[in-house]
């Protein structure tokens, strides 16, 4: 169980310099990809977990099932698996226990708003201009935030860390594997696309309106987004023309790089996913029109208190909604709460997600999904555990663009797996073992497998940890 690392499989990811082509005439296209993931899956023995109730997040609940994973990947899941013959196989009898995919939180500020919550390390909101597409959340992430380990102990294996919502465009988000590292690059989910945070409504207009500058109204917000997209479209045109000229072997004048417009252009090119903080249905509808005007896609509306009012529109546009089970009322735009929101969005055929936006909430996403499920069932909707589990796993993975790699228990996917000591939709159940890429990264029964941040060393004694 000592840390050995895959050296070959990850070699490509270790390379910080990506040379896009070798042709001399195209040397101009050579680009450096800074801050690339240096995450290395930990080597671990093959694992066979049997006699468990399994929620695959691919639509099934398998009773009395087994799962087999090896070299970081899921090999097989089912109710008729025979025990594999690997010499070093770890067999876990999970009778009475439940297995789910690792929990994914699409809305977290761990690392950028670390604990303790003091001004000196509050690095989540660059509140200096309404559009700060040039900032990247990963440059604020403090890997020693003690909150990461708390989330791990709650079964969270991946999360999107977002900038705050003060700005119309708050900057780039980053998706992390929930492993402690010495730098954020050690935590970055390999090949996950960046996200870009946008915010509707009260926050931007309050933050900038109170400084006597634009935006001070919702119409000011919309003007702000559109102005930025006009600039970005123009910038993209210049780069597209330049890249074409390079391809044609007659390089034109290279446009001057602009960090802010790089991010916005990334969205227009479909490389960066839009994560839009937006509570009200009418504002979401406006945002969808802006997306059409400038030809980009909104991945997810976050907080989405009123998604139930436009669930059909969200389904039609293939947009996810990241919601709470019950938070409401802290702002006027969070007033029209409906506890059935998540269930109604799901039933309309739209992508429904339960998110946290909270260092406490991220530790209870299974229970939050259970509450949202219960509200739906109580109004007569047919929602089962095998449906509700998707709200905190595969749908979340889809929102952040990693659904092909993780988020459900299916062959060849990353073995991001949680063993729960009971039904995960019970208040009394706890994550007992958490595997990330097939390696056991948390074990409630083994203090050796409970990571502790630098900050917690000396603050809490090993036998007196926070859990």
């Amino acid at each position: 169980m000592k840390n050995k690392f895959y050296k070959t499989a990850i070699a490509a990811l270790l390379s910080a310099v990506v040379v896009s082509c070798a042709d001399d005439s195209e040397q101009e296209k050579e680009t450096i990809k800074p801050f690339a993931s240096r995450y290395q899956a930990q080597e671990f023995q093959p694992v066979f977990i049997k006699n468990a109730t399994i929620l695959t997040a691919a639509g099934e609940q398998i009773n009395d099932g087994a799962i087999y994973f090896k070299d970081g990947k899921i090999v097989s899941v089912g109710d008729d698996l025979s025990e594999p013959s690997d010499d070093d196989l770890l067999v876990i009898d999970a009778k009475g226990k439940w297995i789910t995919p690792g929990i994914i939180d699409v809305h977290s500020h761990l690392g950028v708003y670390p604990a303790p919550g003091v001004q000196t390390s509050a690095d989540g909101n660059e509140m200096t201009a309404p559009v700060t597409a040039e900032v990247w959340a990963e440059h604020s992430v403090w890997p020693q935030d003690p909150q990461f380990s708390l989330a791990l102990a709650a079964g969270v294996t991946s999360m999107q860390i977002l900038p705050g919502s003060a700005n119309l465009v708050g900057g780039r988000s980053v998706t992390l594997k929930n492993v402690l590292g010495r730098s954020v690059m050690d935590m970055k989910f390999p090949d996950a696309p960046h996200g870009m945070k946008m915010a509707c409504g009260e926050n931007p207009k309050r933050v900038y309106g109170s400084k006597g500058r634009a935006p001070a109204t919702r119409m000011g917000n919309v003007a702000g987004y559109r102005k930025s997209w006009i600039q970005a479209s123009d910038y993209k045109k210049q780069w597209d023309a330049y890249n074409k000229s390079v391809e044609a072997g007659k390089p034109g004048k290279k446009p001057k790089r602009d960090l802010k417009l790089d991010t916005l252009m990334g969205v227009l090119n479909g490389e960066i996913l839009v994560h839009n903080h937006c509570y009200r249905a009418d504002e979401m509808a406006v945002m969808l029109d802006i997306a059409k005007e400038f030809d980009y896609k909104v991945s997810t509306f976050h907080h989405a208190i009123e998604s139930y009012k436009i669930a059909d529109l969200l389904a039609e546009n293939d947009v996810c909604s990241a919601m709470w089970s019950d938070w409401w009322g802290f702002k006027q735009e969070a007033y029209d709460t409906v506890p059935e929101n998540v269930a109604l969005v799901d039933k309309a055929g739209a992508c429904a997600i339960v998110h946290s936006d909270s260092a406490v909430g991220i530790q209870h996403l299974n229970k939050e999904a259970a509450k949202a499920m219960t509200s739906g069932v109580n109004m007569g909707l047919d929602i089962k555990a095998e449906d509700a589990i998707k709200w905190i796993t595969i749908n979340a993975a889809k929102a952040i663009g990693v659904e092909k790699q993780t988020g459900s228990l299916e062959e060849d996917k990353m073995a991001d797996i949680v063993i729960w000591d009971g039904n995960p939709f019970s208040v009394y159940s706890k994550a007992e073992k958490v595997f990330i890429d097939g390696a056991l990264k948390y074990d409630r029964a083994n203090a050796e497998l409970q990571p502790v941040s630098d900050f917690d060393l000396g603050a809490v004694k090993p036998e007196e940890n926070r859990l």
Partner: protein, 427 residues
């Protein structure tokens, strides 16, 4: 019976509660009486004239309404503590928030009773989810260390919600408190002592003080008057505090001044749990909180509640973080988490029912399912601490509460979504 009628008459006279004519018989429930009868299986509760008349097996009372509670569970209604229910509609809209003041003259005397709005939309929202009463309190102060009074209010939704006024006086010590008085805990403690000393001076010299024949005092007359109930131990001082050493300071302070103390927050309470228990000081905590939010909460951990309980500390639970008002009802889920980390089930249930009633002086009428107590209870469709459980019947003052909420009407307006442009006509 005589006693209960007498009590009832007193309550009606004091508060003007209307009392339902309807009698209710709840049948075949599991009943957490939280009283001498313990937990009863397949038992009944008979309610009449706003009171619990009898509790037991196979009751034969004829009732206007019978609730078949087979497979269901009955508990006292949730007593939400230290929130702004009825005093805030939207946190970020100051004009809707009455639980905070920056008036320099209103510290200990800041009383919220008349500001309470029984028609707040937060009240039905919490009531249908099982909250029947609340101890409203000032949210915080940027001016005072001791900043106001808490009162117990009913969620009955009528214009006489007050159950008991000024049952506690709230303040804070530590990082947030010291910021208001010179930036040091040392000056904050001195300020607290001065408040009590001046309150004593006021008691001894009030005639001269009111006649203006006394030296100028640092605190307002109203604040010094309000502190009298703390000095004479009628009312506890509820102090927000987190660091273990600060808790020890306050325990010494309370002992020295012979006042009743309640701790709120108490992130590092488990580190000095024995001392808190020995001083007989109850504690209010959010059992979900395991985040070291500040340098005075470095020891914060999820087992805080179970460890303090084990040491013999009397615990009361707060709802979750900043949602303690809008979602006060979810305190029951927080209690479930506390149980999963070792808190005994009944102590966890009492932590949001019987224990606050006991600490804040209303346990002779509420907090137990027993004869003579107020008919203020909830029928749950399962384990009340469980996240998949729902309140199916809520009874306050002997009446079933209306199940309508703004949320339900919104849901029903939009549940059958279509291209219908006339949504606004769905009511």
């Amino acid at each position: 019976m005589k006693l209960s009628k007498f009590l009832l008459a007193g309550i009606v006279a004091a508060t003007g509660f209307s009392v339902s004519a309807e009698s209710i018989l709840i049948k075949n429930a599991k009943i957490h009486t939280l009283g001498s009868q313990g937990t009863l299986q397949q038992s009944d509760v008979f309610i009449n004239n706003g009171k619990i008349i009898s509790v037991g097996k196979k009751l034969t009372n004829s009732a206007d309404r019978v609730i078949d509670a087979t497979g269901k569970v009955v508990t006292p209604g949730i007593f939400a503590v230290a929130n702004s229910l009825g005093l805030a509609e939207i946190d970020a809209l100051n004009q809707t928030v009455d639980s905070v003041t920056n008036d320099e003259m209103s510290g200990a005397s800041f009383n919220l009773d008349e500001a309470f709005n029984p028609n707040s939309t937060l009240i039905p929202h919490n009531r249908v989810n099982g909250v029947t009463r609340t101890l409203v309190s000032p949210a915080y102060s940027s001016v005072h260390l001791v900043y106001g009074q808490g009162s117990i209010m009913s969620l009955n939704g009528n214009y006489n919600p007050l159950i008991k006024s000024a049952v506690a006086i709230f303040g804070s010590y530590g990082e947030s408190g010291s910021g208001r008085v010179g930036g040091s805990r040392a000056t904050a403690l001195k300020e607290l002592q001065t408040l009590l000393d001046e309150a004593r001076e006021y008691a001894d010299n009030y005639e001269a003080i009111l006649a203006g024949e006394y030296r100028e005092l640092g605190f307002s007359i109203d604040d010094l008057k309000a502190m009298q109930d703390v000095l004479n131990r009628n009312t506890p001082l509820v102090m927000s505090v987190n660091r273990a050493s600060d808790i020890m300071t306050l325990l010494r302070f309370a002992k020295k001044n012979s006042i009743r103390l309640v701790l709120k927050g108490a992130a590092e309470g488990w580190m000095v749990a024995k001392e808190i228990a020995a001083a007989n000081v109850p504690v209010l905590i959010d059992p979900l909180d395991n985040i070291p939010r500040s340098f005075e909460s470095l020891g914060q951990r999820i087992e805080n509640s179970s460890l303090m309980n084990k040491a013999g500390v009397e615990l009361m639970f707060l709802g979750p973080g900043f949602q303690n008002t809008h979602n006060a009802h979810t305190v029951r889920h927080s209690a479930g988490v506390a149980v999963s980390y070792g808190m005994p089930y009944e102590a966890a249930l009492k932590a949001f029912t019987a224990t606050p009633a006991k600490v804040f002086g209303s346990d002779t009428s509420y907090g137990k399912i027993m004869s003579g107590y107020d008919a203020e209870l909830v029928v749950w469709d399962g384990d009340p601490l469980e996240v998949t459980t729902t309140a199916v019947s809520v009874i306050i003052d002997g009446e079933l509460v209306d199940t309508a909420t703004k949320s339900k009407r919104l849901r029903d307006r939009y549940k059958d979504i279509s291209t219908d442009q006339n949504t606004a006509y769905r009511k």
